[in-house]
């Protein structure tokens, strides 16, 4: 038995997902997505748990997990700042935004704070060039960033 388990709510969501596929293992991606939401990241224990749920060996979960770059296999902060490094954002000064965030959060890019409050990432184009420079904070987009608006967002989220 694995050491982790879905909450009742996630479990019923999982059952709903699995019912949509002809085979259990076909539900791999949505299940991983659900697991990431529930556990924050896909740890080896979660791999084993997802394997059990889908009735496949844990190694098959790991193959899928490592194939995709957007799943977190390491712990991620509660607030995940993904600053766009696309060409539009770069022209509009994303470097300054990144440096400001690094200073404010006391983190290098691609790092997570020890208290698991923040993660700072630089990402490729998020497709919102009209609001460049922009970033994605958890599930939300924030555009037309300046150091001041970044501070406002930080204050609001703290």
């Amino acid at each position: 038995m694995s050491k982790v388990a879905f909450s009742q709510e996630s479990l019923s969501e999982f059952e709903r997902i699995v019912a949509q596929y002809p085979e259990r293992r076909a539900a791999m991606l949505p299940t991983l997505y659900l697991a990431e939401k529930e556990f924050g990241h896909i740890s080896p224990e979660v791999e084993v748990y997802v394997g059990e749920l889908l009735q496949v060996p844990a190694i098959k979960v790991r193959e899928v997990l490592t194939f995709y770059t957007l799943f977190a296999s390491k712990p991620r902060g509660k607030l995940h700042f993904q600053v766009c490094r696309g060409i539009s954002c770069d022209l509009r000064g994303c470097t300054k935004i990144i440096e400001h965030l690094q200073e404010k959060l006391n983190l290098n890019s691609e790092e997570t704070s020890a208290d698991l409050a923040y993660t700072l990432s630089e990402v490729e184009c998020l497709g919102a060039c009209e609001t460049a420079p922009m970033m994605q904070l958890n599930d939300d987009y924030h555009g037309d960033l300046t150091t001041e608006t970044v501070d406002l967002i930080l204050d609001e989220k703290k």
């Binding site: 080896p44 060996p57 844990a58 190694i59 098959k60 790991r62 193959e63 490592t66 194939f67 995709y68």
Partner: protein, 549 residues
């Protein structure tokens, strides 16, 4: 049945046959890496692309079913160009370390490069570095840089050994074959992943750097490791044994037999041949009474027969016990029967020694009976259960009480089946103990005469497996020292006793055997080579409840 035309050759094949299989039947070999007839089809390597008329693009021959009227071309310019392009991709990050790679000489990257690619490199970028010489299990070494990600080994672990140890992690040029973190490629069949690896990614820790494969010769044989009798090729190094610490047998490889082992063999069998070149080999007939002394075969035969006759004349025929072995071939056992039972008229003959610890078994290839010829010995009637003589256990008891005065023991280490003191008490109470076998053991240490028998790679003969399939072993290397096949040893003893054993070759013995033994009657010698012949149409027998050491 459907009719297809491949490179102008029209053939008829059952529906559902893939193009690659159909081409094989037409005598055309389409290159392949990921396709293996024993595994599921994934179509990932793309080297088997062929042109099929009325299809817009090239198709993978391994996954495309041949359909009625299909016209396939495997050698057009378009196909050759595609193959070359696939080879170019496969070699983008290949380290080209052939000079230090064990696979060189049997590598499909080398072969197909020479046959289909011959391109010049267009790459200026640095190659991606990955882990090399990574020990991923007790028998297997991984070189990730050489891996072409065909996933044969992954599928083997999923589908055949069903142990799921291997996976391919990450993607693109960072994709890498690895065992699951914290685990090893450690199953009873792990060596097969080395066989099916088409490149030098998985190499054999046992064979690594021992010899170049082009110095090896191949001889068809049967694995003597258990009663399954997996078909094997013995790879032996005849020219450069000095490069391999004197060992002549370099490795065993499974040989395809759809009725026995398909493409596979277990690790215990694969690596269980070291006794052949071990220091424990008996090299000459030896007298061990008082001072140990080597003798010629003539001296040994005459001395042993003189002593045996003495025992028989004083204490009678019932005072001699003969312990044969299911490690011996049908031919060995038949001559033993002719000499001991028919010639000397001895009654107490047996071959079964139940081991103290039961052998491992599974429901695939591994049988608990670790002998290749138990069924043959039973059919030849050389066991106590087939005759009326004493069993081995009864013989030892009788020997201890000096009701038996002489024991002739073949191959067995009796300590595997009996407590050491039981064996010692029995053997030391004898007037004559003869041991015959390829290697010394705790039983030979107690014998008065020790005779060197050829190992299974040094003789020709046949084994009868658990399902009563008769299969042949062939002489791969010459017998070490003075050793000779068991039946030839019995023949020299019989000559001393003026008992006729008129055979010169193993084939002569086999002919006499088929003429005399009902179960084997009518078996054609010529038909045994290759896949062997089932005595009862391949019906598998339930494994006997008595397990033999």
């Amino acid at each position: 049945m459907v009719k297809v035309t491949i490179d102008g050759i029209e053939i008829e094949i059952p529906k559902g046959t893939t193009v690659i299989q159909a081409a094989e039947q037409a005598g055309i070999e389409i290159p392949r890496y990921c396709y293996h007839p024993g595994l599921s089809i994934v179509g990932v390597c793309r080297i088997c692309l062929v042109e099929i008329e009325r299809m817009p693009k090239l198709q993978v021959a391994c996954y495309t079913p041949a359909t009625e009227g299909m016209v396939v071309h495997t050698n057009t310019e378009q196909v050759l160009e595609a193959r070359q392009a696939v080879m170019e991709f496969l070699l983008v990050n290949h380290p080209l370390d052939c000079p230090v790679c064990d696979q060189a000489g049997e590598c499909w990257l080398q072969n197909f490069y020479m046959q289909h690619a011959l391109h010049d490199s267009r790459m200026f970028e640095n190659k991606v570095k990955k882990s090399k010489a990574l020990q991923i299990g007790p028998n297997v070494m991984l070189d990730s840089e050489r891996c072409i990600l065909c996933s044969r080994c992954v599928r083997f672990c999923d589908e055949i050994s069903k142990s799921n140890e291997l996976g391919i992690f990450n993607r693109g040029d960072r994709a890498e074959l690895q065992p699951y973190p914290g685990t090893e490629l450690d199953n009873d069949y792990s060596g097969n992943t080395i066989d099916i690896c088409p490149v030098g990614a998985l190499t054999d820790r046992d064979f690594r750097f021992r010899t170049r494969v082009w110095y090896l010769s191949e001889t068809e044989s049967i694995c003597p490791g258990c009663s399954t009798g997996c078909n094997i090729n013995v790879h032996h190094n005849d020219q450069r044994t000095y490069k391999a610490g004197g060992s002549r047998v370099s490795r065993l490889k499974p040989r395809y037999n759809p009725d026995v082992n398909e493409w596979w063999m277990c690790d215990a069998g694969r690596y269980g041949f070291t006794h052949v070149d071990a220091d424990s080999r008996i090299l000459a007939p030896t007298r061990s009474i008082g001072e140990e002394q080597e003798m010629s075969w003539g001296e040994a035969a005459s001395e042993i027969m003189t002593k045996l006759r003495e025992v028989i004349s004083v204490h009678g025929k019932e005072s001699v016990g003969v312990i044969l072995s299911p490690q011996m071939t049908n031919e060995d056992l038949f001559v033993a029967r002719r000499f001991f039972r028919d010639g000397l008229g001895l009654k107490h003959i047996d071959f079964e020694v139940a081991p103290l610890t039961t052998g491992a078994k599974d429901d695939f290839l591994i049988k608990a009976d670790k002998n290749p010829n138990t069924a043959g010995a039973r059919l030849l009637g050389v066991g106590a259960r087939q005759g009326s003589g004493m069993t081995v256990a009864e013989m030892l008891e009788a020997a201890r009480k000096r009701k038996l005065r002489a024991l002739y023991i073949c191959h067995h280490d009796l300590a595997n089946g009996f407590a050491v003191d039981v064996v010692e008490e029995a053997l030391t109470a004898q007037d004559l103990v003869v041991f015959q076998g390829p290697n010394t053991n705790s039983t030979s240490a107690l014998a008065h005469y020790v005779l060197p028998a050829a190992a299974f790679v040094e003789k020709t003969g046949s084994f009868t497996n658990y399902a009563e399939r008769v299969q042949m072993i062939h002489t791969a290397v010459t017998p070490l020292g003075e050793s000779k096949a068991d039946w030839q040893i019995f023949r020299s003893l019989a000559k001393e006793a003026a008992i006729s054993v008129p055979y010169f070759e193993a084939e002569d013995v086999f002919q006499a055997l088929t003429a005399e033994v009902e179960a084997f009657s009518g078996l054609p010698y010529a038909g045994l080579a290759g896949q062997g012949i089932a005595l009862r149409d391949g019906q598998a027998l339930p494994e006997s409840e008595t397990v033999v050491a």
